[in-house]
């Protein structure tokens, strides 16, 4: 079931090389992606670093390149 869903998602855009502009059913696609992303957002809190504020504040990088 999960596998099937994955395959379906993968087929969607991008692969249609040579097509200069996105397909007309793009609005529909956009809506579907939005619903999908909604589910993903729920998962983000599970992986997001705790104490975000502290973590971001302490992330300092000096001496690049």
């Amino acid at each position: 079931m999960a596998q099937e869903k994955k395959r379906e998602k993968k087929k969607e855009p991008g692969k249609k090389d040579g097509e200069a502009s996105p397909a007309p059913r793009i609005a529909e696609k956009g809506k579907k992606i939005k619903e999908d992303l909604d589910k993903l957002v729920d998962k983000i809190d599970d992986v997001l670093e705790e104490n975000a504020e502290e973590f971001v504040k302490n992330y300092v990088q000096k001496g690049g390149e």
């Binding site: 855009p13 909604d38 300092v60 690049g64 390149e65």
Partner: protein, 493 residues
């Protein structure tokens, strides 16, 4: 015809260590790369002999100290990889260089392999430190005005005059961020505040042409260090781009730039496409996520970034007409055309392909669902964690795992790329020698390998031609030699 050329990228990673004994970024970077697991290459040094980053393309050498670390320190700073690439410390960051590749698809494989190699070091270093305390990010800024680089290298013909490089490439490099940017929350320059911008790096560019890479960063870097026969080759060292997580974005960024370099070598020019003020334009474009605003050209006309890119696309179309081209270049061209078409209509249509749009869509969804704004610390955390190289924690990888982003290579391609070199460049000879004779290699660089032959002599084998040392040319020699002396004898004949 083949549009392929020698290309490679260098990625500096951001690094955070919790409960570190040291706040010194160099020590922390050393902790990371010295956990590199492939013990087979741990002894070989980096050969700095041919390196001189102080030579300027404009024809002179600037004063400065050339890097020449002692033997022990050299070993701590450099890990030569069996895939032909290099893991090292540059400045104060852990850095990875891909081996030399001939096309954008291989480049994606080897750049992604670098993330995996870095993550493997991270896991082992965490084990040594007794916990998940080390964090590595493939991005370009700490959000506080400190940037670290992502440099692309394209080998071009020495015959191209330097003035032509500037006039032809500047409008291209200033505008390609619309499909190559990695996205950033907030701003880090005086050009005005913004909630979200297209590029991580645009804020940090302050001049048009210079040798510097660390301060007053230039859009065109003039370092003239081809790592190859300098009578034939020039290495374009492009420092203006972002590191990308998306395979699709990296493929497009590197692939299109390589094709544009071919137009440049052909002597083509874009009349009237000179930007009035490229240093401002790069920031203006980065700040306009609608892609509708126009930038001013030197002749007073105004164009959008998409329109400027379309000029290059049109020119490429003409250039390719009636030419047989290789399948990868064709794929690059088709995707470029597809992406510009989408960007002209509505950038959000490309939320599976282009990093800054993938990230923006994710942040907007989160903000809407949680009812928070751009200033929320969780949004800043997500902006950073999108670039986390851990496949179980990085937000880009969370999207990839659930099929939300387009890929161009497979996990198995990347796994092979961690351990084996490309077959069609000198990286093959370097990587295969490191694999077969790990104890006999004293040092190596892009353009040399130094073997420890018996009786304590060191034999230096120059590799000045990147398209030699390939599998086709050297596989038999390497496989037919059971000792380093035999290898050297075969090379000499």
């Amino acid at each position: 015809m083949m549009l392929n050329r020698i290309i490679g990228t260098e990625t500096e990673f951001g690094l955070a260590v919790k409960d570190s004994d040291s706040i010194d970024p160099v020590s922390n970077s050393m902790l990371l790369i010295n956990n590199y697991p492939y013990s087979l290459s741990s002894k070989a040094l980096w050969d700095y002999e041919n390196e001189n980053p102080l030579l300027d393309m404009r024809g002179y050498e600037v004063e400065g100290e050339r890097e020449r670390p002692g033997i022990e320190y050299n070993r701590l700073l450099n890990k030569l990889l069996p895939n032909g690439g290099r893991l090292y410390i540059d400045g104060a960051h852990p850095e990875y260089s891909t081996p030399e590749c001939t096309n954008a698809r291989d480049l994606v494989i080897y750049e992604k392999a670098g993330e995996r190699i870095m993550n493997q070091c991270r896991r082992l270093a965490c084990r040594a430190k007794g916990g998940e305390k080390i964090f590595v990010y493939k991005n370009n800024t700490d959000g506080k005005g400190n940037s670290y680089g992502y440099h692309e290298n394209y080998l071009v013909s020495r015959a191209v005059p330097f003035s032509q490089i500037i006039s032809f490439l500047v409008p291209f490099l200033v505008t390609r961020q619309i499909y190559a940017g990695a996205g950033k929350v907030g701003s880090e320059s005086r050009e005005g505040k913004v909630s979200y911008q297209i590029s991580q790096r645009a804020d940090f560019f302050e001049s048009l042409v210079d040798l510097n890479t660390m301060v007053k960063r230039p859009i065109i870097n003039t370092r003239d260090e081809p790592h190859a026969d300098r009578t034939k080759h020039r290495r374009l060292h492009i420092i203006v781009g972002d590191s990308n997580m998306s395979e699709y974005t990296t493929f497009l960024k590197v692939g299109v730039t390589s094709i544009v370099a071919s137009l440049m070598e052909e002597g083509l020019s874009l009349a009237g496409m000179e930007l009035d003020d490229p240093v401002s334009a790069i920031k203006e474009i980065s700040r306009d996520t609608t892609l509708k605003k126009r930038v001013r050209m030197a002749d007073g006309r105004e164009f959008t970034a998409v329109e400027i890119q379309q000029e290059y696309l049109e020119m490429t179309h003409g250039f390719l007409a009636n030419r047989e081209i290789d399948p990868i270049s064709k794929e690059i061209f088709n995707r470029w055309e597809y992406v510009l078409g989408g960007l002209a209509k509505d950038p959000m249509l490309l939320s599976r392909e282009i990093d800054w749009i993938i990230k923006k869509e994710l942040l907007l969804s989160y903000m809407e669902k949680k009812g928070v704004g751009w200033n929320d610390s969780r949004i800043a955390m997500m902006d950073l964690q999108y670039h986390d190289i851990r496949e179980d924690k990085g937000l880009y990888y969370a999207l990839e795992k659930d099929g939300y982003v387009e890929r161009v290579v497979s996990a198995s391609d990347i796994a092979v790329g961690e351990e084996s070199p490309p077959v069609d460049t000198r990286a093959y000879f370097r990587g295969m020698c490191l694999k077969k004779f790990p104890k006999d290699i004293y040092a190596a660089s892009w353009s040399s390998i130094l073997f420890e032959a018996g009786d304590q002599t060191i034999k230096r084998v120059p590799l000045m031609e990147p398209l030699k040392g390939t599998e086709a040319l050297t596989k038999g020699i390497i496989e037919g030699s059971s000792t380093i002396e035999e290898l050297l004898a075969r090379l000499a004949t």
